[in-house]
């Protein structure tokens, strides 16, 4: 549905987006990650046709955004960053306006407005003017606007920004539900959302895509992935560390935290494809030595660590001109 090909955008001498390519098909939810100023919003603005790219192509549903902007835009629902809406209008007035712009009239319009009001829990504020609303409601009003025409493509720039935890949860499950039938791109700073919502994640840094994986693959990149964490009593940390180092398939053992009555260790595997073998090995060592296991599990890897590694190493590289 969305095809982005070698997209570039310069603002003066500064290159904000530098050769971004990706595709999103129906049924996919693409998470867009990256540090502030990495080019996420600029990319989304180009995908939605607000900013023309300096180079490269965007096509949505087969329509080129530069050559056939109107049919392309009809397919898209867009929630811009900071969720802008017309402050002097009521929620109902605003949603009716957006429905009309999308070509709906009469009964169709009324049904569409009612549907999104229900989906976004706006019943209680429907006749209030937008500038009297709290941030959460304002955000949901703009979100409602983006889905009013039940678009095939949704582009959401930080859809959960400024929402309370319950609202975040609602919006995420909404995105996940809609993602079954639509092509969705959404950007976020919150890594747990990637797990909760995305089928694929792109990490963008300094205008370039530095990773394009599923959340599971992404976590695999973590050093922690595949490591076994052990908490045991009846042994000192040092002794357990010494003993485990010599166990089969172990690369290294570190002490997570030094505690008086508890050995808390992390055992790193020699290869990443051990699939629980390392945990069994650690368990058998513990059993043979008579340590009492409090906790034993294999780490899946942590997204924040991967995110930091990928985006930090890049900032250390020589800056491109």
């Amino acid at each position: 549905m969305i095809k982005v090909d070698n997209l570039k955008k310069s603002f003066g001498a500064k290159r904000a987006v530098d050769g971004v390519s990706f595709t999103v098909e129906r049924g996919e939810v693409l998470g867009f990650l990256g540090p502030n100023g990495a080019g996420k919003s600029t990319t989304m603005r180009m995908v939605t046709g607000f900013i023309p790219p300096s180079e490269g192509k965007v096509s949505v549903g087969g329509f080129d955004m530069l050559e056939q902007p109107l049919p392309a835009k009809r397919l898209i629902g867009y929630l811009p960053e900071n969720a802008p809406s017309y402050n002097d209008m009521t929620v109902h007035g605003f949603l009716s306006f957006t429905a009309e712009i999308r070509g709906m009239t009469g009964d169709t319009k009324k049904k569409a407005v009612d549907r999104v009001v229900e989906m976004c829990f706006l019943e209680s504020v429907i006749h209030q003017s937008v500038d009297t609303l709290s941030k959460g409601y304002r955000h949901r009003t703009c979100f409602a606007q983006s889905i009013i025409h039940d678009p095939d493509v949704l582009v959401l720039d930080e859809p959960t920004d400024g929402l309370d935890p319950n609202q975040k949860h609602e919006v995420r499950s909404l995105i996940r539900r809609m993602g079954e039938k639509k092509a969705i791109i959404f950007s976020t700073h919150i890594l747990e959302e990637v797990d909760a919502v995305c089928s694929r994640a792109i990490i963008i840094d300094r205008g370039r895509i530095v990773a394009n994986w599923t959340p599971a693959q992404l976590r695999q990149q973590s050093e922690l992935a595949g490591a076994v964490t052990l908490k045991a009593t009846g042994v000192t940390s040092e002794h357990a560390q010494e003993r485990l180092r010599t166990a089969a398939g172990v690369k290294n053992v570190s002490v997570v935290q030094k505690l008086p009555n508890l050995a808390w260790l992390r055992v790193y595997p020699a290869s990443k494809e051990m699939n629980g073998a390392l945990a069994r090995e650690v368990a058998s060592v513990a059993a043979s030595q008579g340590w009492k296991i409090e906790e034993l599990h294999t780490e899946e890897g942590r997204l924040d660590e991967v995110f930091r590694n990928i985006t930090m190493t890049d900032t250390n590289k020589a800056p491109q001109s």
Partner: protein
């Protein structure tokens, strides 16, 4: 959805947003009060002893509009940029032209409504004597065109900035220029320095001689073309400015 109904939707929203805030009512009250003051006190409506609106009423309009039209139009694009709704509007299936024309028409319609509310002055004249209705009608037509020309300039300055105050000031300056080049005190000043033909040429850029035709009851196609081309040119510039905003220059 065709382009025309998109424009209509935008125009209706914009016009609605004028009347949903106190701005519209404050504006209309001030406009009518100033019209009354200028016509009856400064314009010497009663002292003239003639049943005509030409001098006491319409003569003031270029000066009245100089401040009131920029005040009414300064928010048109500046507010849209400040709130970020420009991004929303232009990512909907709307061409920039539809947005520009729709917004302009809404503000123009608003000014025309304010202008139409001066009808008691017309009734007064009719009550007191037998005015030439033709000159009144053409006067109103000219006044509406004049307001439209100023408004288009204001739309342009409004697109230049997020700040309504800057938009207002720049717009007043440009509109003042459009008056001043044909204002007798200025033209007499220049006629001492420049050849007459050049002075004449410069003064054709002023709204005053073009508005004067309408006041006399004459609808000259050249005057209509003048006002319409100011609107066209200013709205074209608005389009260029908006394209530049989007490209990030």
């Amino acid at each position: 959805m065709n382009g025309f109904s998109t424009i209509k939707t935008i125009t209706r929203r914009e016009l609605g947003s004028y009347f949903s805030s106190p701005v519209a009512y404050v504006f209309i009250v001030i406009f009518l009060a100033l019209c009354g003051i200028f016509t009856f006190l400064l314009g010497g409506f009663f002292e003239r002893g003639e049943a005509s609106l030409v001098r006491p009423f319409f003569d003031w309009h270029p000066w009245l509009y100089l401040f009131l039209v920029p005040a009414a139009g300064m928010r048109v694009w500046a507010e849209e940029r400040r709130l970020g709704t420009l991004e929303l509007l232009l990512t909907m299936p709307v061409t920039p032209w539809q947005a520009i024309v729709g917004k302009f028409l809404a503000s123009w319609l608003f000014l025309i409504i304010a202008l139409a509310l001066t009808f008691p002055t017309v009734i007064t004249v009719c009550y007191l004597g037998k005015p030439d209705m033709g000159t009144i009608i053409t006067g109103y037509l000219g006044s509406a065109l004049l307001a439209g020309a100023y408004l288009a300039v204001t739309c342009m300055t409004s697109a230049m900035t997020r700040n309504q105050v800057i938009s207002f000031i720049v717009s007043v300056v440009i509109c003042f220029f459009l008056i001043a080049v044909g204002w007798p005190p200025v033209t007499t000043f220049f006629s001492g320095l420049l050849p007459d033909r050049l002075v004449d040429l410069i003064s054709t850029f002023s709204v005053l001689p073009h508005f004067a035709g309408f006041q006399r009851g004459v609808i000259d196609s050249r005057d209509v073309v003048f006002f319409v081309s100011i609107m066209g040119f200013a709205l074209f510039c608005t389009g260029v400015i908006i394209r530049n905003i989007r490209s990030g220059h």
